[in-house]
């Protein structure tokens, strides 16, 4: 084995199994946007600082600009497009809508998937827990207050559903 210029990846992307061969240098964010046309995953800084490109890898938030597509072989990926249940918004999406957790919306997909992962781990996170969990996502518009309120609202909605 000495490495190759292309890689074939088998991945479960938003509950859909697919196999694709891409150049080895393909970033995960590039794979999602340019190959799979899932443009909900945004590219902001592309150097691991802003979190706009966050996706869930086996349920955990990761920055997709900071990984190669090759590395998701055999894994499960969820992007913001995969959060909806049929026609129904994910509670986090609905809460961001209701609470105005966004202005320009550029950072929003990253915040939404990160928040969804947090609520899988913790049903009722405290404000410091939300702040700590979302420290890798940067927003230049909202001042964060509305984002935190959105996450709290989503937590309430999820608890009511249960």
């Amino acid at each position: 084995m000495s490495g190759s210029d292309t890689v074939t990846i088998e991945v479960t992307l938003n509950d859909r199994s697919l196999e694709e061969t891409v150049p080895a240098r393909t970033l995960l964010s590039e794979f999602l946007r340019d190959h799979e046309h899932l443009t909900g995953t945004h590219r902001g800084c592309e150097t691991a600082k802003c979190g706009a490109c966050t996706v869930l890898l086996d349920g955990d938030p990761v920055k997709s600009c900071n990984m190669l597509a090759a590395q998701v072989d055999g894994k499960e990926l969820t992007t913001v497009e995969g959060l909806m249940d049929g026609d129904e918004l994910h509670p986090v999406q609905e809460a961001f809508w209701n609470e105005h957790g966004m202005q320009c919306g550029f950072c929003t997909p990253g915040f939404v998937v990160s928040s969804a992962a947090l609520l899988e781990e913790k049903e009722d996170p405290t404000i410091p827990e939300i702040q700590d969990h979302l420290a890798g996502n940067i927003c230049r518009c909202t001042g964060y207050t509305k984002i935190i309120e959105s996450v709290q609202e989503a937590a309430d909605m999820q608890q009511e559903e249960r």
């Binding site: 084995m1 210029d5 890689v7 592309e46 890898l57 590395q71």
Partner: protein, 290 residues
């Protein structure tokens, strides 16, 4: 877009080391990728071959053997932060891991990768120096073991030989009469620290018999503070002793001035961090400050 690069994900460390030996400077190892990918993106590094070790089996262990907390090279910062084993055996390491970067970085970045990378502002190298962690590696010529206290040479330089892969880091179990603590100042949540201090003390009948004080981020690498350590050793901790020791840590440091702060600012913040770290370390060692 990334430059053209070949990719491979060997299933054993031996295969990875052999490839490194074959390609030399034209290849690099990737574990968490949290430092490497940004370097590649910014064209600060260029390689022909990327050897991804994430597919190597059984390297995500975290266990205590013979009073040593052993951590395999695929253990992520998140795993260290959330592990009960680490919380019970080396609380300081768990706390350090929980404060590295942000959630996404901790979900991918590895402890051993951070030690190998030796970023001047990295947190794990400071703690590994202060606790004298043992760092194990494997190269094409076999295995090697290094002492954490002398592993780091500043500015991304370590004792690690060319073509070696860090396979494990082990930390001593820290319990009374030993106590350890790590304090850092970061300019904003998720950012690299501006200044850090690690403190380790050993007490005997409320006298400090041994002390280790190491600064991080202000100089090119983890920096022991022998004058401050000597000031503390053999003494009974008092408020005044802790303050004067912390002052020696700050005044004995030689910070680099940069956009994060002036020399004076970094010395002052280092004193504050040293004091906090010492107070916590003494408390954890079972001591009282009179």
């Amino acid at each position: 877009m990334l430059q053209d690069i070949k990719y491979t994900s060997p299933e054993t460390i031996a295969d990875a080391a052999a490839l490194l030996g074959e390609y030399g400077e034209d290849a690099t190892v990737m574990s968490g990728g949290q430092s490497l990918m940004p370097m590649l993106r910014q064209r600060l590094a260029d390689y022909e071959l990327l050897i991804d070790i994430n597919e190597v089996a059984d390297r995500d262990y975290l266990r205590v053997d013979d009073d040593e907390l052993r951590i395999g090279c695929l253990v992520r910062h998140t795993d260290v932060a959330n592990s009960d084993t680490v919380a019970e055996s080396c609380e300081t390491l768990a706390e350090t891991a929980a404060e590295i970067g942000d959630t996404q970085v901790r979900n991918r970045g590895t402890l051993c990768g951070a030690l190998a990378h030796a970023d001047p502002a990295g947190d794990p190298p400071v703690v590994a120096t202060a606790l004298d962690a043992e760092i194990k590696s494997q190269g094409p010529d076999g295995e090697h073991t290094y002492d954490g206290s002398s592993f780091f040479h500043g500015f991304y330089e370590t004792e690690l030989g060319e073509n070696e892969i860090v396979t494990e880091a082990s930390f001593p179990v820290v319990e009374p009469p030993y106590g350890a603590a790590y304090q850092k100042y970061e300019p904003s949540a998720g950012a690299y620290p501006t200044a850090t201090v690690a403190a380790v003390v050993e007490l005997d009948d409320s006298v400090v018999t041994d002390a280790t004080l190491v600064t991080g981020a202000i100089e090119p690498g983890p920096t022991p503070m022998p004058e401050a350590e000597a000031h503390l050793a053999g003494e009974t901790p008092t408020e005044d002793l802790v303050t004067t020791t912390a002052e020696l840590v700050g005044d004995g440091s030689d910070p680099m001035e940069d956009s994060d702060g002036s020399v004076e600012f970094k010395r002052e913040i280092t004193k504050t961090l040293a004091k906090r770290a010492l107070v916590t370390a003494i408390d954890r060692a079972g001591g009282d400050i009179e």
